[in-house]
């Protein structure tokens, strides 16, 4: 790890001012940043520690029934907040399927949004990586890329965004509140992360020095609470990133789908909302056939970026699964293995 200046601002304004210096990075819990610094992947000259910035660790109910989550709220505090988990169960389930209990106790909301890809070539300073070093090339392109992107990738970068949390968030229309030198602005989460194109180093719309202060879920997002699930496919039962994942929320009126919310994780450089698939489901009765059509629509643009064609069909199937589970209704209590295909689903007929 390189040496760095360490500053600990006491207000948002101080933090933004401190981070305005080039080479600065915000330190939240550090569970991603310190890891990257130890690997020599990131070498910030200055860490601006958010630990003492007041007001960032609050979960606030909003008058419209929505919620405002401070950027430094810990993943586990949010997932176990009874009010939050009841209204946004798929978000809680996604959070609890991520990382480990210890990491969730530390990791923050802002850090989770801005965690960087797990592409092994990005993590390996000896490999060529356009994201790490613009113009260097992409060693993943012709390398070990079984788990890389199938949507929205470019020749310059085929990495995925690894967050679980972001998947239901983007499905539910979350908004990111940002503070910068020029004041405060808001960006829908769906537009927050950037696709790689020819600038894979640019991962979000944040300008250098801008700070995430909160993430907001609108009140209507709670209307999916009765039918909202997250499903995450992993190569071991727990403590693993998603191969693919999906969040689904349904608002059912008289047995028909009034509105559907769908997003995929592990398939692209951003949490991937699929409005095409949501549209397919509008007004139809929930059922295997409709779900499959939605899944086809969701993946219609998908392309393998390497040895990962299987992820396309897998993504379809996991969408169908998430929809099937959502249609069956959110369980009273999250399963013992959150988001796992191996969690029992009493009373749900899953496998045609």
């Amino acid at each position: 790890m390189n040496r760095f200046d360490y500053v600990r601002p006491a207000t948002v304004a101080e933090a933004v001012a401190a981070a305005a210096q080039p080479g600065s990075a915000y330190l939240a819990a550090g569970t991603n940043l310190l890891d990257l610094m130890k690997g020599g992947v990131m070498r910030p000259a200055r860490l601006v520690d958010l630990a003492r910035v007041p007001g960032l660790d609050v979960i606030e109910a909003l008058p419209d029934g929505g919620v405002r989550i401070g950027a430094r709220v810990r993943n586990s505090d949010l997932a176990y907040d009874p009010g939050f988990a009841r209204r946004f169960p798929a978000v809680a389930e996604a959070l609890l399927s991520g990382a480990s209990a210890q990491l969730r106790n530390a990791a923050t909301v802002g850090g989770n949004l801005l965690q960087r890809t797990r592409c092994a070539y990005f993590y390996d300073p000896a490999s060529a990586c356009n994201k790490r070093e613009p113009g260097a090339g992409c060693d993943a392109r012709d390398g070990e890329n079984r788990l890389h992107a199938v949507l929205g990738w470019s020749e310059q970068c085929i990495a995925t965004h690894p967050s679980d949390f972001c998947v239901p968030l983007v499905a539910l229309g979350a908004v990111v509140e940002i503070e910068g030198k020029a004041g405060r602005r808001e960006v829908p989460l769906e537009e927050f992360h950037c696709l790689p194109g020819s600038t894979p180093e640019r991962e979000s719309v944040l300008a250098p020095g801008e700070l995430i202060v909160a993430v907001r879920l609108p009140g209507e997002a709670a209307s999916f609470a009765g039918h909202a699930r997250y499903v995450k496919l992993r190569e071991r039962t727990s403590y693993a990133f998603a191969v693919v994942s999906a969040a689904a929320g349904l608002r059912l009126v008289d047995g028909a789908i009034a509105e559907a919310r769908l997003a995929l994780g592990g398939v692209a450089a951003k949490p991937w909302r699929v409005p095409e698939a949501e549209a397919v489901l509008r007004g139809v009765r929930p059922g295997a056939e409709a779900f499959r059509r939605a899944a086809e629509a969701a993946l219609s643009e998908a392309q393998p970026s390497g040895d990962n064609a299987f992820k396309i069909e897998l993504a379809r199937r996991i969408l169908v699964r998430a929809l099937t589970l959502a249609a069956a209704g959110t369980p009273e209590r999250l399963p013992a293995l959150p988001a796992s295909p191996h969690a029992p689903h009493p009373g749900v007929s899953l496998h045609g």
Partner: protein, 165 residues
């Protein structure tokens, strides 16, 4: 650059002069405070061997910057027993042979103590397994670990009830 932080480590308040902001909580404990019970298995949040409680919550000390924890309370494996009396989790680990080489064990035990405090798993072994999955054990002592956590929790509840009565 030198900065001074205060930490309460195993109930002892300490003022620590840090000559280097890079020091993680894990390396602070191991290399500077001679508290080597906490282990380093990966240094990247991928194994759980470094688990300690910070302000009562289990975290990976390898991915926590010591400077950032100024003012925090840290509990490590060395501070768990009450004098000569092992903590119920420690006793249950011995009884259930919940370790072999013992290298992951301090992390497992601190994780278990954190888990019991979180009170989310109840007496469901499947929830305990999931909640202990952030602690790898290459020796494969998981069966004993799960049994030990459940038993320690039962014992702690019983002890608390006895005290209350």
């Amino acid at each position: 650059m030198s900065l001074s932080i205060t930490l309460t480590v195993n109930a002892v308040p300490r003022t620590i002069a840090l000559d280097d902001p890079r020091v993680t909580l894990l390396d602070l404990l191991r290399e500077r405070l001679d508290l080597t019970g906490t282990k380093k298995g990966c240094d990247r949040g991928q194994c759980g061997a470094c688990t300690v409680l910070v302000d009562g919550r289990r975290v990976n000390s390898c991915l926590a910057l010591a400077a950032s924890l100024d003012g925090a309370e840290v509990l490590t494996i060395e501070g768990l027993a009450e004098g000569e009396v092992p903590h119920p989790v420690q006793a249950a680990f011995i009884e259930h042979d919940a370790f072999q080489c013992g290298f992951c064990t301090p992390g497992q035990i601190m994780s278990a103590v954190g888990l019991i405090r979180e009170a989310q798993a109840g007496d469901d072994p499947e929830r305990v397994r999931e909640a202990m999955s952030g602690n790898l054990c290459r020796c494969g002592a998981y069966k004993g670990i799960t049994e030990a956590v459940l038993e320690a929790q039962r014992r702690m509840v019983a002890n608390a009830e006895e005290k209350a009565a």
